[in-house]
Amino acid sequence: METIAAASGITSLTWLLIALPVAGALILLGSGRRTNAFGHLLGVATIAGSFVVAVLLWLNMLGKSSDQRATRDFLFTWMSLGRFKVDVALQLDQLSMAFVLLITGVGLLIHIYAVGYMHGDDGRRRFFGYLNLFVASMLLLVLADSFALLYVGWEGVGLASYLLIGYYQTRESAGPAAKKAFVVNRVGDIGMSVAIMVMFAAFGTVTFQGVFAAAPSASTGIVTAIGFALLLAACGKSAQFPLQSWLLDAMEGPTPVSALIHAATMVTAGVYLIARSNPIFEVAPNAQMGVIVVGVITLLAGGIIASAKDDIKKALAGSTMSAIGFMMLAVGLGKSGYVYAIAFLLAHGFFKAGLFLGAGSVMHGMNDQVNMRRFGALRSVMAITTLTFGLGYLAIIGIPPLAGYFTKDVIIESAMARNPIIGTAAVIGAGLTAFYMSRIFFMTFIGPKRWTQDVHPHESPVVMTAPMVILAIGSVASGYLLMRNQTLQRWLEPVTGFTEPDGALRPLVLTGITLAVVALGIIAAVVLFLRRPIPETAPSKVSVLVSAARRDLYGDAFNEAVFMRPGQWLTRSLVWVDNRVIDGAVNGVAAGLGGLSARVRRTQTGYTRSYSLVMLSGALLVIVLLWIVRL
C-alpha cells in the first residue's frame, strides 16, 4: 500500500479540476438568457481549463517516484459524527489521474464537437451547463477519497445523465427514457448505500484508506457482502446485466451526450469503482466471481443486441454494453486484470467517442435520421467521417496494431488463463464485436445508396470533424502507447497491483485464434450485409434470436412483467387501502359518532317539565348514591 501525502504545491490545486466545470455549470444554468451568446464557449473554456490543470498535475506526478505519487487535497469536513467522518478531500493517485486525463481530454473534444452539433439549438447554453455538470460529477467520482464522497459524484453523474438524456424535453419519449435511466441507476445506488452502511458498521470508517486497510482482516462474510453491494452499484452505473436496460433508451439524448456517457463518463464509473475497491475484491473471491459472471453475460448480451439493431446509435449502445462487459470481466479477474481493464477503458474512451461522434456527424448530414437501412454509400460524401469512423471500427474489433488489439487481447489472454470457459466467452465476444461493427460500417458507409428522398448528406464542419480526427489518432495509437514497455502497468501497479496471467495457451497462439474469430465475424458481415442487398424496411420473418435481440433480449419485457406491472398493481391497491381502509376507519369512527349523537338527540323533547323531572331524578340519584357510600 502506497503512502498518500497531503497535497502541497501544485497538487493543492486539485480542487480546481472540479471547481472549474462546477462554476461553468452554475453560471450557465443560473444566469438565464444573458449568457446565451457565449455560453457554449464558456462551457468549453472551463473544461479546457480543467484539462490544462490535469496535464500539469500529470507532469508533476511523472516527476515523482512511483510510491510518492498519491496526494490528498483536503478541503473541509463534510460530516463528522462520532466515528463517522467524511471529508471533502480529493485523492489524486495514478488510477484517478488516468481517469482525470480521459475525462477532461475526451470530454473537451466532445464539448468542442458539441459547439458545432448543437448549433442553432435554442437550449445550447443549458446543454453546455449540463455537460459541465456531468464532467464535474465524474471528476468528483474519480477524485473522492471515501466511498461517501464518491457516492456524491456517483449521484451527480446520475443527475447529469438524467438531464441530458431528457434534454429534448418536448419529445414524448425523452422524459420516460431519462426517468428510466435515473431510476435504474438508483437501483444500483441501493448497493452503494448498503455497501457504505456495512463498511461503517464493520470498520468504523468509509474512507478508501481506512476500509482497504481493514478489509484483509475482516471476516469473509462482511467483505463478500460489501463486494456484492458494490457490484450492484457498478451494474447500475455501467449498464451491466441485470440493470442494463436504461442504456439503449438513453440514446434519446443528443449524440454528444451519448459519446460522453459511453466513452468518458458514467458507464466507466462501475469499472472504476471495482478497480478502486480492489483490496476488498481481492479478499472476496465470491464477489469477484460475481463480477466475472456479470461481465461475461453482459458482453455476450450486448454483442447480440448490437447485431440486430438498425438504429445506428442503439447498435453502438449495444457495443458499449459489450465493451464494458469486457472491462468488468477484466476487473473481476483480480490482479491480473485491473491494468488491462483500465487500458481497454482508456483506449475504448478514444474509439467509442470517435464512433459516436462519427454517428453524430452522419446524423447531422442525414437530417437526424438514425436508421442504417436508409444509409449506405456515405463514404462518397463524408470522407473524413468515413475515415475516422473506419479507424475507430478497426480499433474496436482489435485489428493490429490499433488500440483494441493491444488492450482487448490481453483481457482475453488473462480470462483464458483463469478459466477456459470465461476465455472462450471472451473470444466469442470479440467475434461478435467484429460482426456487428462491420455490419454498422458496411450498412452506413459502403454499399448502395438507400437514402430517403429528402436528404442531402454533406460533411460536417471543422469544429465537429477536428475532434473526430484527434480521437481517431487516439484510437490508432493509444493501445500501443499504453501497453509498450508495460507503461500503464508500471503506472498503475502501486494502486491496483499486478500479476502476469499464466495461461496454458501461449499468447501468440491465442492471438491467432482471436484474430481468426474476428476475421470470421467480418466475413459473416460481408456475406450478409455487403453481398446481399439490404431491405429498406426491417424484415419481419426473422429467427428467434434476432427478434429477441431486437427487443433487447426481452430485458424491458422482463422488467415490465416482474417490476412494473406488479408495482403498479401494488401502488393502486395501496392507494385504495389508504382511502378506503385506513381513512375509511377514521371516517367510519366519525360517522359512527355522528349516528350515535343523532340517537341521543331524540331524548331532547323540548318539554320543560320532562327536563325538570330528569333533573330531579338526577339529584335524587346523587343523594341516594352519596347515602349508600356513607353507609
Binding site: 473541509f76 460530516m79 462520532g82 449521484e155 431519462a178 458498521a201 482482516s217 471476516s219 462474510g221 393502486r572
Partner: protein, 516 residues
Amino acid sequence: MKNLPWLLIAGLVPLAGTVLIAVLPRKFEFRARWIALASSLVTLGVVIAMATQFSVGGTQKFQFVTSYKWIPAFGVNFTLGVDGVGLVLVCLAACLVPFVLLASWRDVQPGGSVKSYFGLMLVLQTVVIWVFSALDVFLFYLLFEAMLIPAYLLIGRFGGAQRSYAATKFLLYSLFGGLVMLAALIGLYVASQTLLGSGTFDFQTLSSLQINSGLQNLLFLGFFLAFAIKAPLWPLHTWLPDAAAEATPGTAVLLVALMDKVGTFGMIRYCLQLFPDASRTFAFTISILAIISIIYGALVAIGQTDIMRLISYTSVSHFGFIILGIFAFTNQSQTGSVFYMVAHGFSTAALFLVAGMMIARGKSRNIADYSGVFKVAPLLAGFVLIAGLSGLALPGLASFPGEFLVLVGSYLRYPALAIIATVAIVLSAVYILWLYQRVATGSPRGVVVGTFGEIRRREVLALSSIVALMIGLGVYPQVLTRVIEPTVKTTITRVGAVELAPTQIKDQVDKQVSKK
C-alpha cells in the same frame, strides 16, 4: 447579550406584527403583507442574533433560559430555553416564514381577508417558536394545542373546495391526540408529586425522575400517540393529505414543514427524555411502523393523481426516516434525523410552494391536466425539478446528509430495517421523476396553454432563497450537525441505549456477524 430574553422576544415580534395587522384600517388591508413580512424578517434577525450567541457544547444543557412564575399552585412556570435541537428548529421556523409569506403574497382569493390570513400566519409562527423552546411541560402542552387554532382557521377559511372537511378532520385528529396527551400529562404530574413530594411541570426536573416502568409505558404511549399523529406516522397519517391538499400552499408549508416537526421534536425531547425505559421498550415496534411509513408513503405517493396529495405522501415517507433515526438511538441516526427535520422543512416548502405556483396558474391540482410546463415556463419547471431532487435526497442538497446519516446510523442498530429502508431510494426517484415527467415534459397540453405564464420575480426570490439554503446545508451540513450532536449525545445517554460503536477489531466484527 446572553442574558436578554431572546426566545421571548423572538416570539413576541410576530405577535406584535399580528396586533399591528389587527388594528390596521380596512382601507389599508394590503399593507398587512408588508407588516407581516417586516415582522418575520425582524424575527429572523433576532433568531440569527440569538444563534450566534449559542455556545456549542456548553456546560449548560439549555441556553437562553428565561422563566416567569405562572401558576405557582401547580408548579407551572412560563419557562423558555433551547438546547441544540430546539435551536435549529427555532431557526427553521424563523427562516421559513419570510419565504412562505413572500410566496403566498397573492394566495388569498378575492373576498377573503388578507388581514386575517397574514395575521394568523404570524400567530402560528409565535406559537411554533415557543413550542420548540418551552421548558415547562404544561406550557408545551398548552402551546401544542394552541397551534391548532390558527392552523384550523387557516385551512378552514382560505383553502380549497373541501376545506371544511379537511380542517375538521385535522382538528379532530389533533385534538384526540392532545386529549390522550393531557391524560398522560396529568399522570406525569401526579407521578412527580409522589416522587418529589410536590408536583412540578418543570422539564429539567422531570427529565431526571425515575418513574416505575409500568407507569412509564402508559405515559410514554400517551405522549407518543399525540406526537405520532402530528408527525404523522403510519397508520395515523390520513389527515395530512387532506389538510395539505385543501389548504393554501403557504398553509401547507407551515403545516408540514413546521407544525409536523413538533411531533418528531416532541419524541426526542419528551418521549425519550422523560420516559427512557419505555422508549427502549417500544423502540423496535416504532421502528417497524417507521419502516412501513417509509415504504407505504412512497408507494402511495406514486399512485396519487393530485399534486398536493402526492407531496403530502412523500412527507409521510420522509417522516418515517426521521422517526426511524430517532428510535435507532445512535449518534449518527438521531443527529441525522434532526438534520433531516430541517432539511425536510426546506425541501417540502420548496415543493409545496412551487406546486402552489403551478396550481395558481393552471387552476387544477390534477397531475393529468398538466403537460409540457417546461416549454411554457422553464424557470417554474426548473424549480419543480430542483425541489423534487431535494425530495429524493440527491447528494449536494440538504436532504441527503439527513437521509444518509439516518441510514448509516440505523444500520448499526437494526441492519435489516435499514436495508429495507434503502428501497425508498428507488421509490423516491420514481414518484418525483414521474411527477416531473408528467407535468413538465412533453408538449404543452391541458391547462398549460393560454394564460399559463412564467413565475414572477417575487416568487423567484422566495424559491431561489430556499434553494440556496438547501444547497448550503447539503454542502456544509456541519453547520447544523455540530450544534445538534451534543444534545443528541445527552439524549442517548439519558435513554441508556447500548452504545453501538463500530469496531475494527476482527473478533468483534465476527461476533457482530454471528449475531445477525
